[in-house]
């Protein structure tokens, strides 16, 4: 008796098929090596056919989900990561949608030079842009995701910009004395 059959027999002695599916997933190894190869070739042909028939929209969806889930995982982390700066992710988004920067700027109702500054991190994004990106991504990358990205980056900047801190400190007088 093959391993999977043995395990199935053991499990089905105390569980229904529904309960087995709810708790286990194991490969069927009841077929011979030759049959397994036939199964694999059949699967491969179907898989390759499916890949060749995928629409641009389906491919775009896959790339969009990759970006979305990477963003979500990043939100779970504590530290700012330059690879997840607003500009880098905007660049990432612009590359997956497969449109020129000129077209992308037009889509967002921006001048292309403004988009270029945003993509290069030379200009700070505003909330209006975040709503536009939300709409542009059909809601898959909501405005608050872009905000969270930028907020994390901005927090890092505020905490580490010693030059600005020193400069602004000079403008303050009569600071509170605590303790």
């Amino acid at each position: 008796m093959k391993k999977s059959e043995k395990m199935y027999a053991k499990l089905s002695a105390r569980l229904t098929d529904e309960e087995i599916v709810d708790g286990y997933l194991f490969n069927d190894d009841e077929v011979s090596a030759e049959e397994r190869e036939v199964d694999h070739q059949e699967f491969l042909a179907l898989r390759m056919k499916r890949l060749s028939e995928m629409t641009e929209g389906e491919k775009l969806f896959g790339r969009l989900m990759k970006l979305k889930y990477r963003m979500q995982d990043y939100f779970e982390t504590k530290e700012f990561d330059p690879a997840y700066s607003f500009a880098r992710l905007l660049k990432g988004y612009s590359s997956i949608i497969n449109r020129s920067n000129k077209e992308f700027a037009k889509d967002l109702g921006l001048h292309h030079s403004k988009l270029s500054r945003l993509l290069n991190g030379k200009e700070k994004p505003n909330v209006e842009l975040m709503y536009r990106l939300d709409k542009h991504s059909n809601g898959e990358l909501p405005a608050h995701y872009w905000w969270r990205l930028y907020a994390k980056e901005f927090e890092h900047t505020i905490m580490n910009d010693q030059e600005k801190r020193a400069e602004e400190s000079k403008r303050v007088s009569n600071a509170l004395r605590t303790g």
Binding site: V21, L25, F26, N27, D28, F43, L46, F61, M65
Partner: protein, 159 residues
């Protein structure tokens, strides 16, 4: 919905992470798992546990990556005995593990494609419960189907 306490319906915060060498001893000693998980150590193996209860592994997942076929294969999933069948106290453990595989399949540019090769007798149930489709003798899920599993099992409703 993520892991759920059956008695109250409340969501239970959980963590899914890679199994490290020390875990195999823990898995073996726990008496919760029937499969030989050390045999899976050559694959990518993940564990799920409740936040702050790292020592209590609730379920395990073994994946195989087939980059040339643009897919992640679910080689083995096992939920700990305490949460299988009529006496289980926590729901959705296997669903969460399958959803993690879907997420990995998006991340590796496979368009969310995840495959499995279950016993013939169980094929229709995996299709019914998780939405897998048949590809010859294998089952597969991708795209929006995979995304739905991620939404259902890995995300809180407000996300």
């Amino acid at each position: 919905m993520p892991l759920k306490k059956i008695s109250t319906g409340e969501s239970l915060p959980s963590i899914i992470s890679r199994v490290v060498n020390d875990d195999y001893v823990l898995i073996d000693k726990s008496g919760e798992f029937s499969f030989d998980w050390t045999a899976e150590s050559g694959n990518e193996v993940f564990k799920i546990y409740l936040k702050d209860k790292q020592e209590n592994i609730l379920g395990l997942l073994s994946l195989m990556d087939y980059p040339e076929e643009y897919r992640i294969h679910l080689n083995l999933i096992e939920v700990g005995k305490s949460n299988v069948g009529k006496k289980k106290t926590i729901d959705n453990i296997a669903g969460c593990l399958i959803a993690v595989a879907c997420k990995i399949a998006f991340d590796r540019d496979y368009f969310g494609f995840v495959s499995l090769k279950p016993k013939t007798k169980l094929i229709s149930l995996y299709q019914e419960v998780y939405g897998f489709r048949q590809y010859g003798r294998l089952l597969g899920i991708e795209g929006e189907g995979s995304n739905q599993l991620i939404k259902k099992y890995l995300q809180d409703e407000e996300e």
